[in-house]
Point group: D2
């Protein structure tokens, strides 16, 4: 069963385990003529690199990307772009212990059930390192989208019980470049210093108690033209749901008002259409920029809930492969929370989705064919 | 751009508009040898039929399904099963009015942006009638799954602000067939009479105020073997997210504890593995039956948030195709809430997803090939 | 296992058995805004209708197509186009005999091996009637392609041992509309009367001897813009090979000089590039319009070999389901040759392939995205 | 437009250019539990390595493969297998000349038309080096198939005008391991020494005249169980046609009697079913092991026609990018014929196809699901 490929026209295939020789991605279907170099990609990868604050694993991973194909004389050629990051900092240690039991909240047991055995070093294929390929590919997509006026604002909305107070609509009123800079320089990628301080206190407690925390990532996409996405199974929100839910540790996804719509009424939830500067717009954006699965030109807004890191040093109950109930305590260099490092993964998956939707939509009208042929 | 197909090995393609000649589905990849007749499918369709309580549209639609191919001498042949429901009860009325403006909360505007024009009769392709094809196909999938010991419990968890009090885990302690019967006989498909009564009061108010309501549907799948789903992009929860988010009006989706995980700690959220009757099990089920994207043998539990019906008789602001701001009021036979009728749609999409995952997983191990060849 | 869908962006799914309720096709991904009515499709279907000469089965099948969805006010809407032809002329006869043994050259035995049993009425899913869906969809594709200046010339190159003498290049020198008319009015769809006469004599002998014949269909596609097709697995010739080989009875496929290239030298086989009217062209067309899997602007030329109709009245040896060796003689209303009726099937599959390639190619360059967004 | 992926369940994605950093493949969907090491793969790659006779390019390429992921403790894990061969022997030379004009018979012009520019070093993405990824993946597939009793006999049937005299049926009477050894030790991979000697004389003439040659590769697959392949678009012969036609330089493909069927009669072409050792078999094998797109248990036999190497040192006419007609002569280290090195590529693509068909077919019957779940 193959499941490592994402996308229809802009298609990525990731490979690699956390403690194998490396991780990588092949991008197939990137339009020709995009200027691209390793620095473009490295900038994205650096946003998910560990060791940048005390809230991420102290492992030092340079995660230096190499472009192996698909770029010639500084431009994409239209052929597959193969990107690789070789693994460097695997501690040479005895994994035998982990091999014998099933860590709660991890995929150890399910891999054994599916495949008959597993690569028990680190998280194997379910490691967070798998997302390196996604982020590398996302960097390429985001660069192309920027040329079409489409950009992303992605941040931690909540860390454990601590949330920012501003709504997405309020953040959209601020100066974007200042806001982006503020987020990138915040250790938790939160757009409010006040909330960030409280969240750091909360995390310090978590760490002290050998526990871990979860949180919510929010993403706002601006500049998305109206008309993207398909009416039925390949709705734009479906593709985003698929993209974001495929990130390990995501347990919930919502668009616009999300679960809030369940207790709203039609009068409250409908976004009235209005004219603004001669163009159709909506007075509010409860829908999160998507109606009937198709973008309506308003900012696309979504959120994803991430579970707490399952690897904790506190004692936990589990069973081993011999079917004995045992107590374990997982030591090692684990993130007490994955939300901050997941922010760029969310942005990358969103960029891949939007670019694919743009490409898939090109033939929606006969007149589009007549423009190009 | 094609987007009306769902599934990899068990693949369905739906077609049809609300006011065209009919709606239907082609199922490709149904294993041969399943006993199947029109009554099997009709039973599922009847659960989404309107006009069964005062909380659904009074339109009378028989929605009688016909099997056009793929079944011979009472059994599926392995070739495409074409199912059709001809439309019968379209009022012959003047749609010219709707044709000229964009209804808030509907896909009118986005269809025009995407395709240049739209079938403005009813909801066109975005009508709830499109789900007839899904439910017809879901009936086939559910029948096959039942033979493998996999079954579904699907119900309204909340209607507007009114929720049931029992958790999914608590419901699982009850007698399943009694519970299913109770749900099917409840006008809102709620498993608690007390909550249902309050919800009906709430809906009566909504109707009186020419307003509409949303809600949350919950689904529990039991008997799912461990090992289904793929580690990366085609995780079982991803496929469920895609399946459920593709239902019109869904704005949020979550597995297990869902958004609740964001404020939980690792210690709280991890499900300890335990032995029970000689088999590996989990003491709790915060994960909703899926770890690392792969089923772990526990019940799969998920929820979806549905927005309030956008068609309401109250006055709303919008714009027309000439770019003028106007006031409208949408009359007609609309459901004040779609949640109860959506319950069987959710169950159908879940059944399609699980069966496809079973088929895709057959080749996960070399030993499986040796068993069959 | 699902296998009834063809195409990536312009995607068709066929369904139906020869003696079931009907046959049909769902087209998903047809660009919006194409004028389309049932007559457009019927014109194509009439070219494959039986009973038009003594060389096709005397069964009378009107094969009247109905459009069930996807067309509104005379134009395609961009949503799935469901087309159906209900079966009408199944003789009510006892099929019990056929059910018990395996006809040589038919799929009876292989269906039983794959699915455990089969729909033994007529050819079931392997009947030539399955091609009705392909031709109906091909008519839609061909109509759209005509608006982009792409057209098809398809004909019988050989019937049994009798071939036409002109090459494809020579036919391209003639007046196209006269030639097309000549082909359509020829009972064997041959573009040379002389060869057609000899072929008819040969077929008359075949019929007299209760035997059947095969032949070769050739197709020339003009107006294909340079740049269609992908370098590796989705080459334009690969997609054509897949399209044409999927027609029942095809046992060989070749592009340009085809098998002739095996004994040619590089000097003979290379097509020199030349300038003509300020444009790059090739002096010859041994390549059949495709280089490295991508169209070069020259006419695309290919051929397919069809086997003789397997159903013959002469006595044949076979086995029955009880494993006994028996002699059989197949009576009924069978075509002594399927080549003439297959001509429009070949053209239809070619049209579907070219349109899909046009759609898939729209995003090949960043500048194309900038033109549309 | 993405086109570098092949397969449905056993899915490969190739990447890399002839003069980039390397070439590789990602295999997704390989069943877990297959013993695999680099030597298994290297053995296949060595069969396509150049420089082993005077009929292939004197370039020395070690083509040493590395497994980067998907194998743990000597067994496949079920996750993506990333294989890479780094390029080593690119001559550092000035490609500027080739950059300015279009080589006849090459994809230079079509790449420019499609993508706006091209990687002009060597063949870029259309280089024969792209097949390294296919052969590496094919080695994995073939190893798994061998465990199921499926094996391949692949050889040069003709080189230019020189063909072997034995039919595939006759070769099947010989001792397989002796025959395979004979083919592997023959410089042209021909199974008849007599024909090989004549073919070598012919090639020596070609080389002396700065010309090149084509030929035909034949492949026999034994042990294929009955029931593989789907009735309509995903017939087993369609998948083989797609697989083989995707190899650069292939211009024709045929199954069983292939183009010969066009002039055969039904009586001649039908394969009578007979009983042998209590099993259903066919007295002849004109069908090449496939009926109605589904394997019938007989050996699968097909042929592919390869064009002569387009790169020749003789003077040729072409045009340059400025639109001027010029004369060129292509020097360098080119194969005078690619057929012998293509033999293992054909075998690899066939192995990939058969394994994918086995995986896709596992769910054809409900009873198969009951056996595994």
């Amino acid at each position: 069963m193959a499941g490592s490929t994402f996308g229809t026209q802009f298609k990525i295939t990731t490979w690699g385990e956390s403690h194998g020789k490396g991780v990588g991605v092949v991008i197939d279907g990137c339009p020709a003529g995009l200027s691209l170099c390793e620095e473009d990609i490295q900038a994205f990868l650096n946003r998910r690199k560990p060791g940048q604050s005390r809230y991420s694993t102290p492992r030092k991973e340079d995660d230096a990307v190499q472009i192996l194909s698909g770029v010639f004389e500084g431009k994409t050629t239209g052929t597959p772009i193969s990107l690789v990051v070789f693994n460097e900092n695997q501690r040479s240690k005895d994994y035998g212990d982990i091999a014998t039991y099933y860590r709660p909240g991890h995929a150890d047991y399910t891999f054994d059930m599916k495949y008959g055995f597993r690569d028990y070093r680190g998280g194997g294929r379910s490691s967070g390192r798998e997302t390196i390929g996604r982020v590398a590919a996302g960097a390429v997509a985001a660069k192309l989208l920027a040329q079409l006026g489409i950009s992303f604002l992605t941040y931690s909305r909540s860390i454990g019980p601590v949330s920012i107070s501003k709504t997405a609509d309020e953040l959209l009123q601020e100066d974007m470049s200042t806001l982006k800079q503020q987020i990138l320089s915040n250790p938790l990628y939160m757009p409010e210093d006040n909330a960030s301080t409280k969240a750091q206190d909360f995390l310090d407690d978590c760490i002290a108690q050998q526990n871990s925390a979860g949180g919510i990532v929010e993403c706002i996409i601006t500049g998305v033209p109206a008309g993207l996405g398909d009416p039925v199974f390949d709705k734009l929100d479906v593709d985003l749901a698929k993209a974001i839910f495929s990130i390990g540790a995501v347990k919930g996804f919502e668009i616009g008002d999300g679960f809030g719509v369940a207790s709203a009424t039609g009068l409250e939830n409908n976004d009235a259409f209005r004219m603004k500067d001669g163009k159709v717009t909506t007075a509010t954006n409860h829908a999160g920029g998507i109606l009937g699965g198709i973008s309506n030109g308003a900012p696309v807004i979504f959120r994803a809930a991430f579970k707490p890191t399952p690897s904790i040093a506190s004692t936990q109950q589990t069973v081993n492969k011999s079917g004995e109930e045992i107590d374990i305590s997982i030591h090692g260099r684990h993130d007490p929370i994955i939300v901050p490092r997941a922010v760029v993964v969310v942005e990358s998956m969103a960029a891949l989705t939007i670019l694919d939707a743009l490409l898939c939509n090109m033939g929606s009208k006969v007149e589009n064919l007549k423009k190009l042929y």
